[in-house]
């Protein structure tokens, strides 16, 4: 590597080192030279001095000729190893003494020599002078080892100095060269980075304001201008590149497009071609080529004219058209019918346009032809199809407006006959049971044929083996020619000149209910489209007919539904009424409770009661019972009858008496107010067997019948109640309610048991007899109605008598001994009731504590228990505010489980009936309470406790 090429850092260091070494070397050389010269001089001087000393010391020896002494003096030279030899000459030049003593005299030079350096030694001559007289000469010879030693020492020293200096200079220059090299190198690196990355936005960092700094500044300025120019260049470059790639893309696209176009051109099913002015093909797509020439290809078509492929007259026609086009008149969408060599006709839709060169001159023509043969055919078919569709549509619309079968059939036949058209058309209904057809409709035009055939409306037609039988199994039958048919019905038709025949089944839910018959005089005259049309038409007709049938059914169902809905609405109304009545009943029961209790107590216990008072009190008691029963009946409105009846023995005679009493107001009091008199008769069979049933229900039924009887006698009459054992069925007992009223006609008699059927207008609910009927049915009994207008009505209920005669097991009161002196807690929110209960029970000898609320009652019970004075039993009301009877009962039972709880309620019957006796309650008693019942309940509860 030449010096020029080494890095600037090394260059700087090398220069520094070279300078330092050169200077140092020169310095050392000069110094050494000086030193050597000085040394040589010094050596001469030193040895001269030494010689002078020897001379001084050897004066006496010379003067007094004492050689040994002189030798002694010379001997002192041995201390200096460099002295090779020494001698003293006397003044005659003779050697007087020498050193070392064995040195031959010839070694020494003459005494007259001069001091100075010889080849390899130093010679010193020094005269011995005493008192101005020269006594002799001292001679010294020294080798130059001192000098050489010194040379060596100097050389070593110089080498060391130079070496260490170089080292120091190296280190210093290494450090100091950075002052110059670093900025330059930084600059160089920046330049390197720029050239590597081609990034002219990089800037050199300026270090100091010296020349390097200036250089950096100008470098950066240079960079800035380069960067700017680079940007400009890049922009230009970018745009150039973009342009190139754009052009490339465009070329590709063009090529692709050309390919695409050619492919599309070839793929197109149409004829596309270009012709020159002489109508020669210049260009055409594959279709054109394939079509025209048998072994055609695009190539062998080019250059030919239509005359090469078509008959002369056609070619001439084409040429004439093309000449017009070449004249500038375009040929647009001309339909040309060609006869192809194989005889088939082809319809081509041709468009020919003039083809101009870039200057606008017409140089040829562009032709475009589309084979529309199939389209034409399809159009024709479509037209027919559309016509039929429209017909179907019309018929469908027409029949959808009709709901009776005959008119539907008439419309269908008439329209089809006229529009299809048909020579004969008819609809027959199929009767599956008899396997026969009945003519249901015949077309207007078909009438004459029909008459010839003997086919008129409602004429039955037998099912043939073939044809019709297939049709009634759901198939469309088409007979193209029936002229020689073997089957009777087609033969009949053939006889009147009909030849082709279609049987279309009328199908609903895969069941054939009729046949549409269509016939023409022309054989093979039904196309497949017409067959299809008839099939569809038959479906529509079938549907319409079916819909008509369905519509009738729907009407009926709707009527039923309407009636049911009304019944339900009535029931809802009654339910609301019943709930209200139930509330009223509860309040009435509460209110009459004290009356009942006091009355009973008075009648039983009061001593000295006058007969009149007793009579009054008895009447009050009955009245209270009536009230209570009336209230109970009110509740029946609401009560849902349980299906399971708890049957009990029923004595119908007693029941009849009760009914008379209960309904007295209606048959006696109310008519009398209007001035009408109704006579009540009773014919009760003695020893009537006991029947099983629910007393209250039967009573209610009878009361209803009595009411009806009364209502039937607005002008008065006789109402007869009769019980008897059935005459024709001994296991039945009968109860009859007969009146001499208006009676019922047959229709009313038939319907009178239906719910909501009433003859009373707004006054009646229509539920009375329905309820009666329900009760009767539940008791496995039945009802007989005998009525004649103006004569009256007898309603007879037949109750079955159980096989084993039931002996009444009614418990007598005597079975229970009611203890006295019981501690009883009475809980009720009604103060009147509390007071009456207290009074009556106290009069029985019991100890009574009362509480006016549920919580009070519970507290009182708990306190009594704590006082160790527990209650024997608790009588509580059910409905109380805040804490009701159920809570009281459960609290009492939780404190003392064995204490009986008797629940007193205005809802009592309902509770028992609905199985809703609350837990912890031993007995439920109805309001108004009866003393007898209370005693019985107490006795029972305590008795069961004891046992």
């Amino acid at each position: 590597m030449s010096f020029k090429n080494i890095p600037i850092r090394k260059k700087l260091m090398a220069v520094n080192l070279l300078i330092s070494v050169t200077v140092l070397f020169l310095t050392c050389a000069a110094f050494t030279t000086y030193e050597i010269i000085t040394l040589r001089k010094g050596m001469v001087q030193g040895y001269t001095t030494r010689a002078q000393i020897i001379a001084a010391n050897s004066t006496a020896s010379l003067a007094f000729q004492n050689e040994s002494d002189a030798a002694d003096v010379l001997n002192a030279m041995k201390t200096d190893p460099r002295i090779m030899a020494a001698c003293i000459f006397d003044n005659t030049g003779k050697i007087f003494a020498k050193f070392p003593t064995n040195t031959p005299d010839s070694f020494f030079p003459a005494s007259s020599g001069k001091s100075g350096y010889q080849d390899d030694h130093l010679e010193i001559f020094c005269p011995v002078v005493q008192g101005g007289r020269t006594l002799g000469t001292v001679y010294l010879q020294s080798n130059l080892s001192a000098l050489t030693d010194l040379y060596r020492a100097y050389a070593g020293l110089a080498a060391m100095i130079i070496a260490s200096s170089i080292l120091v200079a190296y280190l210093l220059s290494r450090t100091l060269q950075k002052q110059i090299s670093v900025p330059i190198l930084a600059l160089a690196q920046t330049a390197q980075a720029i050239s590597n990355r081609r990034d002219f936005s990089i800037r050199a960092i300026k270090i100091g304001d010296d020349e390097t700094g200036l250089l950096t500044d100008s470098f950066n300025q240079l960079l800035a201008s380069i960067e700017e120019r680079d940007k400009v260049l890049q922009t230009v470059n970018e745009s150039l590149r973009a342009e190139i790639s754009e052009r490339k893309r465009a070329e590709d696209a063009l090529a692709r497009e050309r390919n695409l176009l050619r492919t599309m051109f070839d793929v197109l099913p149409d004829y596309i071609y270009l012709k020159d002015e002489q109508s020669r093909f210049v260009l055409c797509n594959n279709r054109r080529a394939e079509d025209n020439a048998t072994s055609a290809s695009v190539d062998n078509l080019v250059g030919k004219t239509d005359a090469d492929f078509f008959p002369p007259e056609e070619a001439a026609r084409f040429r004439a058209d093309e000449l017009k086009v070449l004249g500038g008149t375009p040929l647009i969408d001309k339909e040309e019918t060609l006869v192809r060599p194989d005889g088939t006709r082809q319809v081509i839709l041709t468009t020919k346009l003039p083809f101009r060169d870039s200057s606008g001159k017409i140089v040829g023509l562009v032709g475009y032809g589309r084979d529309i043969t199939e389209r034409k055919q399809a159009e024709t078919k479509l037209q027919a199809q559309l016509a039929r569709l429209e017909l179907l549509n019309r018929i469908t619309r027409a029949i959808s407006e009709r709901l009776d079968l005959r008119s539907i059939f008439q419309v269908v036949i008439g329209t089809v006959e006229e529009r299809l058209p048909l020579d004969f058309s008819s609809v027959c209904l199929y009767e599956q049971n008899t396997n026969s057809l009945t003519v249901a409709g015949i077309g207007v035009r078909s009438e004459t044929i029909a008459t010839e055939l003997g086919l008129t409306k409602d004429t039955p037609v037998d099912i043939d083996e073939n044809g019709l039988s297939r049709c009634v199994h759901g198939q469309l039958v088409y007979e193209p020619d029936i002229s020689d048919s073997k089957f009777p019905f087609p033969q009949r038709l053939a006889r009147v000149g009909l030849r082709s025949l279609v049987f279309a089944p009328l199908l609903v839910e895969s069941r054939v209910f009729g046949i549409l018959i269509s016939a023409r005089r022309q054989p093979h005259s039904f196309s497949s489209g017409e067959c299809e049309f008839l099939r569809q038409l038959s479906e529509h007709v079938a549907l319409a007919a079916h819909q008509a049938q369905l519509y009738d059914a729907l009407q009926e169902a709707y009527e039923d539904l309407r009636q049911t809905q009304q019944a339900v609405m009535q029931q809802e109304r009654l339910k609301a009424l019943g709930q209200m009545a139930s509330g009223i009943a509860h309040d009435i029961n509460n209110a009459i409770s004290p009356v009942a209790l006091y009355t009973e107590s008075l009648l039983e216990k009061e001593p000295g009661l006058s007969p009149r008072a007793r009579d009054y009190l008895t009447t009050i008691q009955h009245a209270i019972e009536d009230v209570s029963h009336t209230v109970a009946r009110m509740r029946e409105f609401y009560r849902q009858r349980e299906t399971q009846l708890t049957l009990a023995p029923v004595r119908l005679n007693e029941l009849v008496k009760q009914v008379i009493d209960l309904s007295r107001a209606r048959w006696s009091d109310m008519p009398q107010q209007r001035g009408v008199f109704i006579k009540m008769e009773t014919h009760l069979a003695p020893e009537l067997p006991v029947t099983l049933g629910v007393e209250s229900e039967i009573r209610e039924a009878l009361v209803n019948l009595v009411f009806n009887a009364v209502d039937a006698m607005p002008e008065g009459g006789t109402l007869t109640l009769r019980t008897k054992i059935s005459e024709n069925a001994p296991h039945f007992v009968q109860v009859e309610v007969s009146d001499t009223g208006v009676g019922m006609d047959e229709d009313t008699r038939r319907r009178c048991l239906e719910p909501f059927f009433t003859t009373k207008g707004e006054r009646g609910t229509g539920l009375g007899l329905a309820m009666v009927y329900g009760i009767v049915r539940r008791h496995s009994a039945d009802i007989e109605i005998e009525s004649a207008i103006g004569k009256g009505t007898t309603m007879r209920l037949n109750f079955p008598v159980p096989a084993t005669q039931i002996t009444e097991t009614g418990k007598s009161m005597a079975a229970f001994t009611v203890p006295t002196r019981l501690r009883l807690l009475i809980v009720d929110d009604d103060p009147l009731l509390i007071k009456s209960l207290r009074d009556t029970l106290e009069s029985d000898g019991h100890f009574i504590i009362t509480a006016s609320g549920g919580q009070d009652g519970i507290d009182a019970f708990r306190k009594a228990k704590e006082r160790n004075e527990p209650f024997t039993a608790v009588i509580t009301d059910l409905g109380m505010p805040y804490v009701d009877g159920r809570h009281v009962a459960s609290a009492v039972k939780s404190i003392s489980p064995s204490t009986p709880v008797i629940l007193l309620t205005g809802w009592g019957q309902r509770l028992v009936a609905e199985g809703d006796v609350p837990p912890h309650v031993d007995r439920v008693l109805n309001k108004p309470p009866k003393l007898r019942e209370l005693r019985e309940a107490l006795a029972q509860c305590l008795h069961s406790n004891e046992s």
Binding site: A63, F64, N66, D69, G131, G132, R133
Partner: protein, 182 residues
């Protein structure tokens, strides 16, 4: 072997006697030539008190008392020489009384040294002789000839008495003796 050794030694002695006999006179003069040079050299290594010289040009005098054994060699030695600027002169003294201004006095064997030296006491004169008891009698430096070489014996006491400073260089070469000993 003694007989043989003897014969060999006697032969060599004989030869030596033969060789030296004709040269005795010449040897004598050679000895004194050296002694004359020594006398001159003493002037270099001995310092006299400053009062010895009247001025800087006053002559430095080397005197010989008694018989002159040096002949002309002393003159030859000092010819053209000066000591510290002082010109050199040679005086030959016959009697002690003649000695007036003299720095170095060689006392010849012929003289009665005891007397002479006695009379020279206190005078700033370097007395030099070569007789055996010269130092005993108060002389400062005596030449001793051993193995053909001339050595110096010096009496520091006598030198001190004569107020002379002797150079250590010279003293290093000489044998320092006490006068009583020899």
């Amino acid at each position: 072997m003694p007989a043989k050794n003897f014969l060999r030694n006697g032969f060599w002695i004989f030869l030596c006697l033969l060789a030296f006999a004709p040269w005795t006179t010449r040897a004598q003069s050679r000895e004194y030539q050296i002694k004359a040079a020594f006398l001159f050299n003493f002037a270099q290594f001995v310092t006299w008190p400053p009062t010895t010289f009247a001025d800087t040009n006053a002559p430095f005098c080397i005197g010989i008392l008694g018989d002159d054994p040096f002949g002309s060699s002393l003159e030859e030695t000092i010819q053209g020489e000066k000591v510290n600027g002082h010109p050199l002169t040679i005086q030959r003294y016959r009697s002690i009384q003649e000695i007036t201004n003299c720095q170095i006095l060689f006392i010849s064997r012929s003289e009665n040294k005891q007397d002479v030296l006695e009379s020279l006491k206190g005078k700033k004169i370097l007395t030099v002789g070569d007789s055996d008891d010269f130092l005993k009698n108060g002389g400062v430096i005596r030449f001793v000839t051993e193995e053909g070489k001339i050595h110096l014996r010096i009496s520091l006491e006598a030198a001190k008495n004569a107020d002379l400073t002797l150079s250590s260089k010279m003293l290093r070469l000489a044998e320092i003796v006490e006068p009583e000993k020899n």
